[in-house]
């Protein structure tokens, strides 16, 4: 049994895991790259060791060094967090080979779920429906795809085998346009990933992305903690999650049915520890297995809020060989939770990532508000890692209370120094379709235009005019007093230099 855990990650998730360890009385070991020497996870951990230079492949992806550090520091377990090494079967195996506990599933389960063909075959054998298509059937020619297409049915999607992020993806409405679109998808896939292979997948219209949280122990107990609605995505990146799903709402029978199917999918690969089964759900409540994430999810806190289960602590408990603290009957959802992912990106500049030093943060607090973050004022956001700087989670008695609470929390949240997507979330919270819970996976891209703010209707334009004028006025006043000693906006040396040049 281990009493010291190495966290092979950074940012908010490393901090989240350190907190769980602290509360369990476990010692923690952090690892860091050059740019993370002052990061919060390094400051919070009991021990910290240098990994390498900033690019992930030279630091947070160096599994060999991480295992070496774990052995040297006497850590008995490694928690991979999400991203980086979390879904690498070879790393999980290397941990076990080194005599370390890997806080996650068995390498065999990671490998099975990581391979699309094996995952689809395994779960459909267990009676779990999968999205109709040719995923995992290998490299098929245009002729073969054209022959299969009518059996799947139109509309369908041609997707890059090596792909992700919407690249090499085409929507196909009929067989006539299919050859042209297949070639376009192949070209794009070839350019983006160096692999022109594509597969077909039935296009589900008005589809929602709903996932179920799974917990499984070594004693064979598998439970689910209900669903998370993750349909709000931008460029295939989740941006806001909520639980329960407003689509499932109070249809307990549907929830139970999907939950049981999720449990069955996890059992099909002998799953242990925390994991997530992702489904696509169409408007007629038909659902299809999409994939399994064999790790802790970014959005796990909303499930923690409504179920009162600390998922990270359960993960550690499972890795220590103990059985789950809960049975399925113990689990129920209380109230409603929403998470907004706060990213360092500028919504007014096409969501361009924003880097730089955070000069100030005012955190939202008060009833029902939780913030998971890895940054603080004075910390510099570097371009090396993803742009998630914090997660704002609120919990309310009802969905309406949760939305109102999120609105006030977003209004309180002030971050200066870098641009964030907080205004985007504020606009989303005011959208009628979001309030009504009527959205699907394409809502943000198809129906929600961030730039079309109708300022004319707003009554605050006059206030904005006054504020800008007062600030401008203040600046003019200051610049006229600039010669006053100590009030100059540049350093004295610079000022002397300029003065000398002027009199040369």
């Amino acid at each position: 049994m281990f009493d010291k855990v190495l966290i092979a990650n950074r940012g908010e998730i490393a901090v989240r895991i350190i907190r769980a360890c602290r509360e369990l009385g476990l010692k923690t070991v952090a690892v860091f790259s050059d740019v993370d020497r002052q990061a919060l996870h390094v400051r919070f951990a009991d021990e910290a060791y240098y990994l390498g230079s900033p690019p992930a492949r030279e630091s947070y992806l160096r599994g060999d060094r991480i295992i070496e550090i774990a052995l040297k520091s006497g850590a008995g377990a490694i928690h991979p967090g999400y991203g980086f090494l979390a879904e690498r079967a070879d790393f999980a195996q290397a941990c076990i080979d080194a005599g370390l506990a890997f806080i996650g599933p068995k390498p065999s389960a990671i490998a099975a779920m990581g391979d699309k063909a094996i995952a689809r075959a395994t779960v459909s054998a267990a009676g779990v429906p999968v999205v109709p298509g040719t995923a995992g059937e290998g490299a098929l020619s245009n002729d073969e795809l054209l022959a299969i297409a009518p059996t799947i049915g139109f509309p369908l999607l041609a997707k890059a085998t090596a792909g992700g992020g919407g690249k090499g993806m085409r929507e196909v409405r009929n067989i006539e346009e299919m050859p042209r679109l297949l070639n376009a998808a192949r070209r794009e896939a070839e350019a983006a990933f160096g692999d022109g292979n594509v597969y077909l997948e039935k296009l589900l219209e008005e589809a929602r992305h709903i996932e179920f949280q799974i917990l499984a122990d070594n004693q064979g107990n598998v439970i689910h903690l209900g669903e998370r609605e993750c349909s709000l995505q931008r460029r295939h990146q989740k941006i806001l999650e909520e639980t329960p799903s407003p689509f499932i709402a109070d249809d307990q029978e549907f929830r139970q049915q999907m939950g049981e199917v999720a449990v069955r999918a996890a059992k099909a690969v002998g799953y242990v520890n925390a994991g997530t089964i992702e489904f696509l759900v169409d408007k007629d409540k038909r659902y299809y297995f999409l994939e399994m994430n064999t790790r802790l999810q970014v959005e796990h806190p909303i499930t923690e809020a409504v179920t009162n289960v600390d998922i990270v602590k359960e993960q550690i408990r499972i890795a220590r060989g103990r059985s789950l603290n809960y049975t399925q009957e113990d689990i129920s959802q209380h109230g409603w939770a929403i998470e907004c992912r706060i990213n360092a990106e500028d919504p007014y500049e096409n969501f361009l990532p924003s880097t730089g030093r955070i000069s100030h943060i005012l955190l939202p607090t008060g009833p029902g508000v939780r913030v998971d973050t890895g940054v603080y004022p004075g910390f510099t956001i570097s371009p090396y890692y993803d742009s998630l700087i914090s997660k704002l989670i609120v919990h309310g008695k009802t969905r309406a209370e949760a939305i109102l609470r999120m609105r006030r929390a977003l209004e309180e949240y002030k971050i200066t120094g870098v641009r964030t997507n907080i205004p985007f979330h504020q606009m989303l919270m005011n959208s009628h379709r979001f309030m009504a819970g009527q959205y699907d996976t394409r809502f943000i891209e198809d129906r929600f235009s961030f730039n079309s703010v109708n300022i004319d209707k707003s009554s605050d334009a006059d206030i904005a005019a006054i504020l800008a004028t007062l600030v401008a006025h203040q600046q003019i006043q200051r610049s006229t007093h600039i010669i006053r000693r100590g009030k100059r906006d540049t350093s004295n040396w610079k000022w002397v230099g300029r003065w000398e040049r002027m009199h040369r």
Partner: protein, 165 residues
């Protein structure tokens, strides 16, 4: 001091009367205006109503972030406004536009070539940063004159990538 401040199409005539009073379109209000220490955050109490906003200057105008909405505000005194109107209000488009890297990153691809005619809003360069690919678009129509980087190059913030004439 009298200012003419424009938010999109609406014009406000704002006169700062003294430390505690201003008039907007002739109507006098009591103000209590403070800068929250060392931040671009400002607190305004206007006739008892309290507002807090980010206010910063960017690309020739003031930006006011208030209740989740970003307002662009042009603040001018009468002389500036007259000058602007005399020049037709338009910014001259003859000078070159230099596309600068908004953040450090790696050039993924450059979908344009030197000499190519482009329209406002066309993608000029794809830059990867924070594991995301970002399209940098042209703010105006014109001709691509000089491309200074190649796909695969690592670029620093504010480095000039290419120019449009």
């Amino acid at each position: 001091m009298k200012y003419i401040s424009t938010v999109i199409e609406s014009e406000y005539i704002i006169e700062i009367l003294d430390e505690k009073h201003l008039s907007i379109n002739g109507e006098v209000h009591t103000i209590d205006f403070e800068e929250v220490d060392g931040q671009p955050v400002f607190s305004l109490i206007l006739d008892g109503k309290s507002y807090e906003a980010f206010v910063y200057f960017e690309e020739g105008e003031w930006k006011v972030m208030l209740h989740g909405t970003l307002y662009p505000v042009l603040v001018e005194d009468e002389r500036e406004k007259r000058l602007r109107q005399a020049y037709g209000g338009g910014v001259t488009q003859t000078s070159e536009y230099h596309l600068k890297a908004p953040m450090p990153g790696m050039v993924v691809s450059i979908p344009v070539e030197e000499g190519q005619q482009i329209n406002k809003g066309d993608a000029l360069l794809i830059l990867e940063s924070m594991k995301m690919q970002n399209e940098l678009r042209s703010p105006r129509s014109g001709k691509v004159t000089r491309i200074r980087v190649e796909p695969g190059d690592h670029v620093e913030k504010k480095q000039t990538l290419l120019s449009v004439e």
